[in-house]
Symmetry: C2
Subunit: 339 residues, 2 copies
């Protein structure tokens, strides 16, 4: 049987309140402090979180709802967040909703039943409907990588500047003289997809270019998807001189498709990829790529939520943090003309 503060009270002769106070960082007489510490050690006392939670109504637990665990961007963010949160004694409950809005809604309900103190969500459902119950219950929410207009001002969010990222990458290709540029995007309708598409089109417009719809491929942010769409791009009547792939998995897939087609990068085709500089930077040719600050994103999300959680009953000041991306130049883009 595990020991309780009652046992400590008995052992030290002190009252429950004193012990509880000390355990929660309050001031007690040095002598009593020693007494309690000794008893805690001797009895191997560990506070019962159930009782504590029942009283405080706080679980020291946060829920994370994501579309898919098997994605390096998502897992790297979770790893960072989890690290920070666990250090502060917050447990992280992960719910993979498999890009299914119904499952996503269920996950939110589930986490509310588990009485999480806060919610982190990379939304699949773009209506934000699934978060309403949590919002009504006053549970602080931080969105990751995606913004939900319908929830504006009621949740915090951390995103990167997707439009600028795509503009920079596309502009780099255009300035190198490329005009036949393929674009491989994620799921249509998703925030990042829209923004990256927007950035791509912006840059093209700057150069008075209007890429055909067949050059802009929607996919699903998976390796298989990137592979398939790259194949599709290669089978286009008018050959591309360059391609911009907008996440890590799809970049990998696209590279595999290029290798299979025996196309040399950048001689036969130029490529700009996404994320995992350490990896793509180690390969030859070094891939030119858009690098998202994944660690910073995870940190921001964790700290934003922590801020909201410690905010007490004061009404939360929700913010949207936009982080910059970096265009890391490698050797995968051929200069078709002098810049």
């Amino acid at each position: 049987m595990a020991s309780t503060i009652k046992d400590i009270a008995k052992m030290t002769g002190l009252g429950l309140a004193t012990i509880s106070k000390y355990l929660n960082g309050g001031n007690v007489r040095p002598n009593n402090k020693r007494l309690i510490e000794d008893a805690v050690r001797d009895l191997r006392f560990v506070p019962n979180e159930f009782a504590r939670s029942l009283k405080t109504r706080l679980s020291r637990t946060v829920g994370v709802v994501i579309p898919e665990l098997g994605n390096q961007f998502i897992t790297s963010i979770i790893t960072t967040m989890e690290d920070i949160l666990r250090k502060l004694d917050y447990a992280v409950i992960v719910c993979d909703c498999r890009t299914d809005p119904r499952r996503e809604k269920e996950a939110v309900t589930f986490l509310m039943h588990k009485r999480v103190d806060g919610l982190i969500n990379m939304p699949t459902d773009s209506t934000g409907e699934h978060l309403k119950p949590a919002l009504d219950a006053g549970i602080p929410i931080v969105l990751v990588d995606r913004i939900l207009k319908s929830l504006s001002g009621r949740v915090s969010a951390v995103v990167v500047d997707n439009v600028e990222a795509a503009e920079k990458a596309t502009r780099f290709l255009l300035e190198s003289g490329h005009e036949e540029i393929g674009l491989i995007l994620g799921n249509e309708g998703i925030y990042t997809t829209q923004k990256r598409r927007e950035g791509f089109l912006n840059a093209c417009a700057e150069f008075s270019l209007k890429p055909g719809e067949e050059m802009i491929r929607f996919s699903d942010y998976t390796l298989e998807g990137g592979y398939a769409q790259m194949k599709a791009l290669l089978s286009l009547p008018k050959p591309l001189t360059a391609v911009f792939v907008t996440n890590y998995e799809m970049t990998l897939g696209a590279m595999i498709a290029l290798n299979e087609a025996a196309l040399k990068v950048p001689d036969d085709i130029s490529v700009i990829g996404f994320d995992k500089l350490d990896l793509f930077g180690a390969m030859y040719p070094h891939l030119t790529l858009v690098k998202q600050p994944q660690n910073a994103i995870g940190e921001c999300v964790a700290k934003l939520l922590l801020g909201l959680l410690s905010n007490g009953s004061a009404l939360p000041l929700h913010q949207i943090i936009t982080l910059p991306t970096q265009l890391c130049e490698g050797d995968s883009v051929r200069k078709l003309k002098r810049i």
Copy 2:
């Protein structure tokens, strides 16, 4: 303020016990059942898990301790488990210990403080020291993909038949006439690495072959690692005719290295990879590979734990479940001789 069963008692005129009983699946008079159901709906009653846990000493939560989130084998298993467990109302707390035994031990302590009902662990520490406290506390444990001899009989485990898997793959290469076979393994000292190495050597011995140490490369189960070790293998004085890569990420890395070296599979070199049939099966050439039953592993783990959890106070019957792998033949192995 959330409603409680007291509110339901007031509203229905029933006693607390009746309501609690009904809520936990007990029998009540049909009329009262209706009464309670109506009240639950009207009051939007949700049982307070804190109070329930305090009383039952059960958290309906399980902890998962893994070496790394960014690994497809691990995340696919977690996804499957999480799905099954959540359906039964178990929350899954994930702790990524980054292949660090110290962090792993901390994770176990953390999860015990959170009072998880059970523990799932893909151990980094091969002594099993980190699990002792949980074992002493009587927390059911299921090991994934690795066995800890020191904990024999005190924990359950789900593994695949790694020796046989490596034997089959290696034998396939040998029977095709290959004699210069490279092997890319995971971290030295890890269970799966040892077993797969053993299987490889077994098969070689059957053919009276003793591969040089330089052909057996230890790595770390990452894409980067597979890439680097493939490069190393390619720089060996005596060229290989085949290579066997023992996980998904390293297979991907090895393929990239081969592509960079402009080596054609299987003409220049034969390859047997690991996992993700859907992916490697879509690529050309179709990779011949060892396929682990990832979903079945996740299912077994979840069900094994569930079994232990519902076992009540009866002393648990721990078992080791060994699942078979499959050798899926593609076009990536060249026949050097008629079989």
